[in-house]
Amino acid sequence: MEGSEAIAEAAVLAGCRFFAGYPMTPFTEVLEGFASKLPAVGGTCINAESEIEAVGMAWGAVATGARAATGSTGQGLSLMQESLSEITRAELPLVVFNMARGQADYYQATRGGGHGDYRHIVLAPMDIGEAVALTQTAFDLAFRWRNPVLVYGDYLLAHTCEAVAIEPLPFDPLPETDWAVDGRLGGSGRSRLLNSIGMQKGRGEIDPERFWKRIQAKHDEIARREVRFDSDHLEDAELVVVAFGSAARFVRYAVGQLRERGARVGWLRPITLWPFCSDAVARAAEGAAQLAVYELNAGQMIDDVRLAVLGRAPVTAIGGISTDTSGFGVGSLLDADVVMRRIEALLERGPEASPDREA
């Protein structure tokens, strides 16, 4: 099954009943997947007039307590940032899919382009099987924390086919959705007001400082409890390569090949881009002589790696900007041979030797 369709099917399996989106490559097929699957289960999929309206519609749907999602590419998500920021402080459990044109939306995903203090949980599946699982996890985490969850995919994930089993994952019971608007408390003096600035019914003044500090404390708690990562060959590794998403899949293969040749190299893959696996990276830095980051952008996740390492080991960027002539992010660096050559160069020449960016 193609990744886009698998993601839509997993979302519907996870109880998603509303989707709104605006077509854009390589996200379009995710929208098509929802458009074909949601009506059959009594759900709604709207082909919104813009990404801004798509996120607005999803905002309204999730405000009723329904499982709802939207998505786009990083370009479309740029348009949604104002709303995504507000939705987070209004504590609404929206799921957002970014089928990105490569990996250059790492900052957008983990820092956000919107105003104010906010955090999204960001899940970065490596392949379609993991995307099916993490799509379900996204809805669970969103409702557990009343916080948006972003699933970061790309062209490769959305447009390749793999054999996958789409089966429901078990999750712990979730808190009640008694915050959702249903109109029933009208006239009771306890009606609801979903907002981002600490407005309360019956109070003339707002209290944003206390409200935002409570949300900050929630984000601190998420950062402590929801870190996910994957790794291998770290025990005796002299070099640890950090990568996420599709790039990590190439790194995992390249490291496996080099291990067979006796190279002491390991890999570490953040599954949650936020919260970032800082402790795991710091531990890796204690054992290894050096770290490398293979990301397909000008250098974004490397900031988080360096913040985790705090100078304990050198960190070298061995990825780079890599795309096709359409700008969809399918470039020459999605190549295990290239990854292997760059890792070998680091092992041979040490961290001071910057990689051949023309590779």
Binding site: G56, E86, V181, G183, G189, S191, Q200
Partner: protein
């Protein structure tokens, strides 16, 4: 309107005031607001809350509120509310209605919110025939920021960024949003009213009630534009607000029923 119909608030009244009806609607929490003297928005919000009661939707109403002076009523309207971004209430209301078709879903927006920032939102929502009621409080200025030009400001109207009056050659023409929305096939009901006199307030309540009935009957998109006074943003004495509204804004945005499904049959 003649000047002698305007209450003189500068001197004490000749006779003590007399209670002529319930002071506040049941769906209103608290007994005060933070808006300026002479503002028309509290009258419009009161009419809105009374209309929700009139269609027996007290426990079925869900509002989506935009950003403007009227946002202060989010804390005092005793119905479920979602606070939206500036201009974005119609799409949020769309999501609410699609998930809860049995609810009475409305937006509350100002002219800066709906006609400037969010024009595309309300047009598409109307074109989709979305079963929500969009309520516009139109005073022809950005009241909250202190009286700046909006897309509905009348030609000749003085604002902080049209000091010599809105000039068509320089600032363009006002958008008559009610007339524009009435043209769309998806719009079932559209009306423009005002709250500058008692008859206008009563008509506003009737039009809002009619719009909600159209929504409850599943006939499509419904829209009520309420012209409201903003003496602060118009830079006129409080007591002259109703007259200014009638003579400046009311001449451009003419009140009346713009479209009604019962007139189609």
């Amino acid at each position: 309107m003649t000047r002698d119909r305007i209450l003189d608030t500068a001197t004490p009244p000749e006779a003590p005031s007399r209670r002529v009806g319930p002071r506040k609607p049941d769906l209103l929490l608290g007994d005060s607001h933070h808006l300026c003297p002479g503002c028309g928005e509290p009258l419009a919000v009161r009419a809105l809350l009374e209309s929700i009661e009139a269609v027996a939707a007290r426990q079925a109403a869900i509002g989506v509120v935009g950003i403007g002076c009227y946002t202060t009523f989010s804390g005092s309207m005793d119905v479920d509310l979602v606070q939206a971004l500036h201009g974005r209430a119609p799409s949020v209301a769309t999501g609410v209605k699609r998930m809860r078709p049995e609810s009475l879903v409305f937006t509350l927006q100002g002219d800066g919110d709906m006609v400037n920032e969010g024009l595309q939102e309300v047009i598409h929502t109307a074109a989709r025939g979305e079963g929500v009621t969009c309520v516009l409080l139109n005073n022809g200025v950005f009241g909250e920021t202190g009286g700046h030009m909006t897309a509905t400001t009348a030609l000749g109207q003085r604002t902080k960024n049209t000091l010599e009056g809105r000039d068509a050659g320089y600032h363009g023409y006002p958008i008559l949003i009610g007339d524009l929305l009435a043209q769309l096939e998806g719009t079932a009901f559209a009306a423009r009213t005002s709250v500058h006199d008692a008859a206008g307030v009563a008509r506003t309540r009737r039009m809002l009630t009619r719009a909600f009935e159209v929504q409850q009957q599943g006939q499509g998109f419904s829209f009520v534009e309420v012209l409201t006074m903003c003496p602060t943003g118009w830079f006129v004495p409080t007591a002259e607000g109703p007259q200014y509204m009638d003579e400046v804004l009311g001449r451009v945005h003419v009140t009346g029923v713009l479209k009604d499904p019962s007139a189609r049959a």
